[in-house]
């Protein structure tokens, strides 16, 4: 088997091993003197870096194979067998997962290195790196899994780690609540994923439940079941990738340390949903209705999150909503069957979003955990390295040519237009303008104008090299990643799309060049307009405005959290407390109470035999002997 390589399983193993070692080290020293941060840092970064090297090896090995049979598999062991269902702990590397693999490990490694600087001085330094390694390891299992079940292991793993890391500063109740929220909302999505998986198995899973067999059997899927499977899987994706209506956890996830936000938003976790939809492209391609639902939910999420993003004041929340918005774009892309465009946006987004978060982290670090942008200002002079790299990230996020975001976003919008989803295209263009506006609102308020908090401003400076070097590397990526998939009209040949093609089921629609150029020009015009408006309003130092009317409504996120709270959370709690107070003690626990009462009474009854005198116990023995003798001598005759 030329496709079998045994090192594939090692890729997730290294970070997991790192997590184990760091965790044991942390636990063993949690009462005494902890190990040095240097040791933790080195051990924490080594796993991701080795995984990255292996990811590159996988990539080059795939590159050396013929395009139509590019895949590597490694079945580590049979996990369990139930009847016809044989689940192996298998790993599959094909063009799609290798692309994910390379950038997940690359950006993950950079974030780990950055964290060494960001987290220095934290008492739970070791715990942090242990969780981070576990997070990355889970994501790698998710990406590399050879079937939906193995993917689900990673899926749950990242859910768990997001909970652990969001509530990392667990002494503050709000952070723990944010972690709970992320976990519970993810559970709702996971339920969809599990149900979808079950339906898929029921329909076509009998002859092998991994992607390769499923893909071969996908024509057996009836449209009805296909729609159900697609929608249920998309519920899972909604939970993990923060789409309407399950996006509420992601902005709250900002409670965690900033590198965690970068990891969640850029490399791991939220991209899982998009990856999953692309992975199941062979099913989605059969069910255009499901694709349309995905695309519309995606683009509406993009719009909603962009509107929220316009009015936030917390630097990380702005970025969080921009992530939700960009994820919406990705879903719009995969929804209109432009899977490679969606995945490419995941790829470029990983660079510039990691860059923006790490830059924001540097700003927060420099200002001693100040996150309100209306307390910043004029930081351009003090933090030039951070400013320039964040500017690149912002331009990429806004989709300004020739930064990476432009190419991937344009690819999605163009696919939407070309496949006839004019409504999606129109909203997408509008969202691009809003994105440009709120991104540069952030840049201008934070870095331009006059310092609003003089004292903090005076102490601000660029972070140490361990933090700025990852920033620069990411800035380079954000600048150049787009050229990897240069479309035909710029003389490129869509390298990434061609690379991904064997893993996906998609067709590239064609329209006239004029339409393509016109659409592109319109997008650019809108983006420039957004930037200009932001410049006019904020570049020369605006003060925090009083929001009224619609703005206030949007500032409060359309009161969606409050709505969910009243409609779902409170009734659920009320039902729970009714069950807890009346049903449980009086009905379900009754047999437990009766039997415990019985045992207690019997115990007190038998206690009288326990007189404590040795000879009395001997008497019991003799009495027993006597009775046995009586019985036996009856039978002896």
């Amino acid at each position: 088997m030329e496709h079998t390589v045994s090192y594939l399983g090692l890729i997730p193993l290294f970070p997991l091993l790192g997590a184990l070692i760091l965790g044991v080290m942390h636990i063993s020293t949690c009462t005494g003197k902890p190990f040095s941060e240097k040791l933790y840092g080195v051990l924490g970064c080594i796993g991701p870096v080795i995984s990255f090297i292996y990811a590159l090896i996988v990539y080059f090995q795939l590159k050396g194979m013929p395009a139509d049979s590019r895949f590597l598999i490694h079945d580590a062991f049979t996990w369990f067998s139930v009847g016809d269902l044989h689940i192996t702990m298998g790993f599959l590397a094909d063009p799609l997962s290798s692309l994910m693999l390379v950038f997940v490990t690359f950006i993950g490694s950079l974030i780990h290195i950055y964290s060494v600087g960001y987290m220095s001085g934290d008492e739970n330094f070791g715990k942090f790196f242990s969780y981070m390694n576990l997070f990355l390891g889970s994501m790698l299992i998710l990406v590399l899994g050879s079937g939906p079940v193995v993917m689900f292991v990673g899926w749950e793993g990242v859910g768990l780690c997001s909970y652990l890391l969001i509530s990392f500063y667990c002494k503050d109740t709000d952070n723990v609540l944010a972690g709970n929220k992320a976990f519970i909302v993810n559970r709702i999505g996971d339920l969809g994923f599990v149900l979808g998986m079950a339906f898929l198995f029921w329909a076509i899973g009998a002859s092998g439940f991994d992607y390769l067999s499923l893909r071969e059997n996908s024509h057996l899927l009836t449209p009805g079941i296909g729609l159900v499977v697609c929608l249920l899987l998309f519920v899972g994706a909604c939970g993990k990738s923060a789409q309407i209506p399950l996006y509420v956890w992601l902005p709250d996830a900002m409670a965690g340390p900033t590198p965690v936000s970068a990891l969640i938003h850029a490399a791991t976790m939220v991209t899982a949903g998009v990856y999953m939809v692309a992975r199941f492209s062979f099913i989605y391609a059969h069910v255009p209705v499901a694709g349309a639902v995905v695309a519309w939910i995606g683009i509406l999420t993009a719009l909603l999150a962009a509107i929220f993003g316009m009015f936030q004041h917390d630097i990380k929340k702005i970025l969080a909503y921009s992530t939700v918005s960009q994820l919406g774009y990705m879903f719009a892309g995969v929804g209109v069957a432009a899977y490679s465009a969606g995945i490419f946006h995941v790829f470029t987004h990983a660079f510039f979003k990691a860059l923006l978060f790490l830059g924001a982290g540097s700003v927060i670090y420099a200002l001693h955990h100040q996150q309100n942008i209306w307390k910043m200002g004029g930081l351009k002079e003090k933090m030039p390295k951070t400013y320039w790299s964040m500017l690149i990230g912002a331009l990429a996020l806004a989709g300004f040519p020739p930064f990476s975001g432009f190419f991937s976003k344009d690819e999605i919008l163009f696919s939407a237009l070309a496949s006839g989803h004019t409504g999606i295209w129109f909203i997408g263009v509008a969202v691009a303008g809003i994105t440009a506006y709120y991104t540069f609102r952030l840049i201008f308020v934070v870095f331009h104008g006059q310092p609003r908090d003089k004292k903090a401003f005076d102490h601000a400076e660029d972070a140490p090299a361990v933090m700025t070097i990852p920033l620069m590397v990411l800035a380079f990526g954000a600048l150049c990643a787009g050229f990897l998939n240069l479309p035909g009209i710029f003389g490129g040949n869509l390298n990434v799309s061609h690379w991904l093609a064997p893993s996906l089921v998609e067709h590239h629609p064609h329209t006239s060049l004029t339409v393509e150029l016109l659409a592109m020009a319109l997008t650019i015009a809108i983006i420039v307009t957004g930037i200009v408006i932001a410049y006019k309003k904020f570049a020369s130092g605006a003060e925090e405005p009083e929001y009224t009317g619609f703005a206030k409504f949007a500032y409060n996120k359309f009161y969606v959290d409050e709505l969910y709270n009243t409609v779902f959370v409170q009734p659920y709690k009320a039902i729970g407390s009714v069950i807890w107070k009346s049903l449980e003690p009086n009905v379900t626990d009754i047999h437990v109470k009766v039997s415990s009462w019985l045992y207690r009474k019997a115990g007190t009854g038998f206690k009288i035999f326990q007189v404590g005198y040795v000879r009395v116990y001997a008497v019991y023995m003799v009495i027993g002997l006597s009775i046995i003798s009586l019985l036996l001598s009856q039978s002896l005759n």
């Binding site: 206690k607 009288i608 035999f609 326990q610 005198y613 040795v614 000879r615 001997a618 003799v622």
Partner: protein, 98 residues
Amino acid sequence: MIQNYLILSVILFCIGILGVVSRRNVLIVFMSIELMLNAANLAFIAFSRFHESMDGHVLALMVMAVAAAEAALALAVVILLHKHKGKLDTDVFSLLKG
């Protein structure tokens, strides 16, 4: 013939049990146990005689060795008990009372 020896053995054994269950003096309880061991020895020797095999003798020797070991330990325990409470009464020690 052998029946007589065995019945004597049973009688002695029962007297030993009587001593264990009805007396409170630690030393007498201990000696009753010795009596029971001796009764068992008698049965061994009797069987040995009538089966004309000497394995019973060997077993009797072993019982004696065990009895010697038991005597050493039991007397040490008796000394300790006496040191603690100044009494030889088994009913003083009733820590197992429920």
